[in-house]
């Protein structure tokens, strides 16, 4: 009876928003998504855009250029629709050359990799391909879906998706066995961002036998 009254007291004095929406029975699945790519590709801007789309009280994305990320940014995005609920835990990791060694630490716990490419940076597209090759060849990334995003499509001078696909074709051939795709987006204006997230959701769920999500 003590615990009954304790429970009643707790329910009476707890903020409404923190009451469990879902009982323990339907634990929510949590998938980790890695945002990778060269520096200045737009990973942080993309994360900010996703937050502004999917989080109710997210602050508006910062206008203008993001400063380079040192370390990481992380956001957990709840996805409304299907029962049981799904959470995407998105990790945005600094892409500067000196920070790329850290990426490997994240591979084992991620369920999908998003590789963001700066479509306007023709000079570094080769470097981009080499970096992606390293990521794909890593042992711990085997079998997880990879989404390549051709970012900055709002800019006039950006390469077409077809051109980018051509550059990555060599890798794509090796990727054929697993889920991968190239999508054109603009993290700044938000075009294609929703489609990318939806693609990720279907792929990580399809892949959940191989990489089961964290339940909480």
């Amino acid at each position: 009876m003590y615990h009954l009254f304790k429970g009643l007291y707790y329910y009476a004095t707890t903020k409404e928003g923190t009451l469990p929406v879902c009982p323990a029975v339907c634990a929510a699945a949590k998938y980790s998504i890695l945002l990778l790519g060269l520096d200045n590709a737009g990973k942080t801007t993309l994360l900010e855009k996703i937050k502004s789309i999917y989080l109710a009280h997210a602050p508006a994305p910062r206008q203008g250029a993001q400063p380079p990320t040192v370390g990481q940014n992380m956001s957990t995005i709840p996805l409304p629709a299907p029962l049981p609920p799904i959470y995407l835990k998105i990790w945005d990791i600094g892409g500067q050359e000196s920070l790329r060694n850290l990426w490997t630490q994240y591979y084992t716990s991620s369920h999908a990799i998003v590789f963001v490419v700066d479509s306007t940076d023709k000079a570094r597209i080769e470097e981009c391909r080499d970096v992606l090759e390293i990521v794909v060849d890593a042992e711990d990334t085997e079998g997880i879906p990879i989404l390549m995003l051709a970012n900055k499509q709002d800019r006039e001078e950006s390469l077409e998706v077809e051109e980018i696909k051509e550059v990555f074709n060599k890798i794509a051939e090796r990727l054929s066995a697993r889920d991968s795709r190239v999508l054109p987006i603009s993290a700044l204006t938000g075009t294609g961002v929703k489609e990318s997230v939806e693609w990720l959701v279907t792929r990580v769920m399809r892949n959940k036998e191989y990489r089961p999500p964290l339940m909480r």
Partner: protein, 179 residues
């Protein structure tokens, strides 16, 4: 005065769900009286006495002045095993055993008092309640502890020696450590 609203971990609220606890209390009390009635009915038949609702619900039959009173007292003590089994199966949590066991006896005191329209005046009745409470708390705590410490079984049956094939094997998961 405005009430202060606090943030509490969702897990605390989930395990303290009043609806769950209330239904557990109702179920335990029902089992307590159902089994007691069956046992007392059996005793009445064996003794060749007419059974009435007084037996489970009143404190008057439990008196230390005649053999029948002592028999009923023994039956009540035996009935504490009902609570032990019911608590282990329905609650199963060591930390909650004391609360639920005492609640059963407290509710029984209330019902007896209301049914007989007076507080129990028989010393044997109080002694039986004390003994029953001690048995329930100690045995149920022990059983729940055993149950909680039981080795985990994967895929239905616990297997002591991991074998190949379709069985599940314990493998340290690297991905459990978050980056």
């Amino acid at each position: 005065m405005a009430r202060r609203r606090r943030i509490r971990p969702a897990s605390a609220l989930e395990s303290l769900s009043p609806l769950l606890i209330l239904s557990q209390i109702v179920a335990l009390q029902t089992a307590f009286y159902a089994v007691a009635t069956v046992l007392l009915l059996f005793t009445a038949v064996v003794l060749g006495v007419r059974f009435s609702l007084d037996w489970p619900f009143s404190w008057v039959p439990v008196n230390g002045e005649n053999a029948a009173g002592w028999t009923v007292a023994i039956v009540w003590l035996a009935n504490s095993m009902t609570s032990v089994v019911a608590i282990t199966l329905l609650v199963g949590r060591t930390k909650l055993v004391l609360d639920f066991a005492l609640t059963i006896h407290f509710i029984h005191l209330l019902i007896t008092t209301l049914y007989s329209r007076s507080l129990p005046a028989s010393w044997l009745w109080w002694a039986v309640q004390l003994g029953s409470a001690v048995i329930t708390v100690s045995l149920a705590t022990w059983l729940c502890q055993k149950r909680e410490l039981r080795p985990l079984a994967f895929g239905g049956r616990a297997r002591l020696i991991p074998t190949g094939g379709d069985g599940h094997e314990m493998v340290p998961l690297k991905r459990d450590q978050e980056p």
